[in-house]
């Protein structure tokens, strides 16, 4: 199989090679456009997240995919599943809102807790921080897809796998002729 691929590669002339590179570029920019378009439509900086921990079991397991929206004009209410980031830390956390206190002028603060945790998240917040504000929220979980995110987790834990997959994909697109 590799032999036939190499033969095809030798038969290609310069124009066809550039055409292949252009097709490759089109695929990459289409993917990027879809991702950025999703960011605009949902209002969230990260419209699709993978669940990383088991703190929301049995509802969400590690490797599940969540679709987020973040309508800033809809206030946060208890029971909603929010994805938030603590200041100074990169990892987003997916937990449920337990308490909401909202003032007349619209400012609100709330407390979260994972379904599978025994205590609320005050221990997870930054030192001195007792509440979350809408600014910390990346989005609210609106859609759910099981198991699909396992691919992302495996690629993050074994970076060699990620490079191998990308190399194979790149090679295939450059050599294969449509």
């Amino acid at each position: 199989m590799l032999g036939s691929m190499l033969e095809e590669f030798q038969r290609m002339n310069k124009r066809q090679f550039f055409y292949q590179v252009l097709s490759f570029g089109m695929i990459v920019s289409s993917a990027l456009m879809i991702w950025k378009g999703l960011m605009v439509v949902t209002g969230s900086e990260s419209p699709i997240v993978v669940v990383l921990s088991g703190s929301m079991e049995p509802a969400f397991h590690r490797g599940d995919l969540l679709f987020l929206t973040n309508p800033t004009d809809e206030p946060i209410r208890v029971g909603e599943i929010v994805v938030f980031k603590i200041e100074g830390r990169d990892i987003p956390i997916v937990h449920r809102v337990l308490k909401v206190h909202e003032k007349e002028n619209g400012t609100s603060k709330f407390l979260t807790k994972g379904d599978n945790n025994r205590v609320d998240d005050r221990g997870l917040y930054a030192p001195g921080q007792l509440w979350l504000t809408p600014r910390d929220v990346v989005g609210r979980a609106k859609g759910f897809l099981p198991y699909v995110g396992m691919v992302t987790i495996m690629m993050n834990e074994y970076p060699k796998l990620k490079y191998a997959v990308l190399a194979c994909l790149g090679l295939y697109v450059l050599i294969h002729r449509e």
Partner: protein, 180 residues
């Protein structure tokens, strides 16, 4: 189609396409469900204390205490796409400090196959009923509602508030910390 690799490739692609299609139809089949039900809630014992909340600020805040009765039949809400119901009891009220306060007092996870016909009496709350300030004493309109979050096998996560709520008021005097 005669090499092992082409056959394997075709099989894998077909499997993935069918799985994706089935998941999409699973989501579509229950996308328009209302998941509504009625709940009967009642409060049995209602007290309010004023003590420092050591897990938050050090000042004294109002701490409500209550026991409740709850009946709700959530069995008809389960279907092939409803994997779990996260049921929670919310107390909603207005205070001087905040226009809207919502506190979850009790929650329960019911998975498909478990008994979802709730009939409970004299239940204690799971969580402390702390107010942000001193807005519970003499508060004449605290409303208890039951809501549930439907977790599907694949699809939209919806939160439905049950019809049927119960309003009560807190007493005008604080109860001494040692009294029960």
């Amino acid at each position: 189609m005669h090499t092992f690799l082409t056959r394997g490739n075709a099989l894998l692609t077909f499997t993935l396409s069918v799985l994706a299609g089935l998941t999409f139809f699973c989501f579509l089949s229950t996308a328009l469900n209302a998941y509504s039900a009625t709940a009967t809630i009642d409060t049995v014992k209602v007290l309010v204390k004023n003590v420092p909340d050591y897990s938050a600020q050090k000042e004294k805040q109002d701490l409500g205490y209550l026991m409740f009765d709850l009946q709700a039949n959530l069995d008809p809400l389960f279907n092939w796409n409803a994997k779990q119901l996260f049921v929670f009891l919310t107390a909603e009220y207005e205070s001087l400090n905040n226009k809207l306060n919502q506190v979850v007092l009790w929650d329960k996870i019911i998975q498909r196959g478990e008994n979802a016909n709730l009939d409970m009496k004299n239940m204690n709350t799971n969580y402390y009923f702390w107010d942000d300030g001193n807005g519970l004493r003499g508060n004449s309109n605290v409303t208890l509602t039951l809501s549930w979050n439907v977790i599907p096998n694949a699809g939209m996560l919806s939160i439905v508030r049950g019809s049927g709520s119960h309003s009560f008021s807190f007493p005008n005097e604080y109860t001494n910390v040692r009294a029960q």
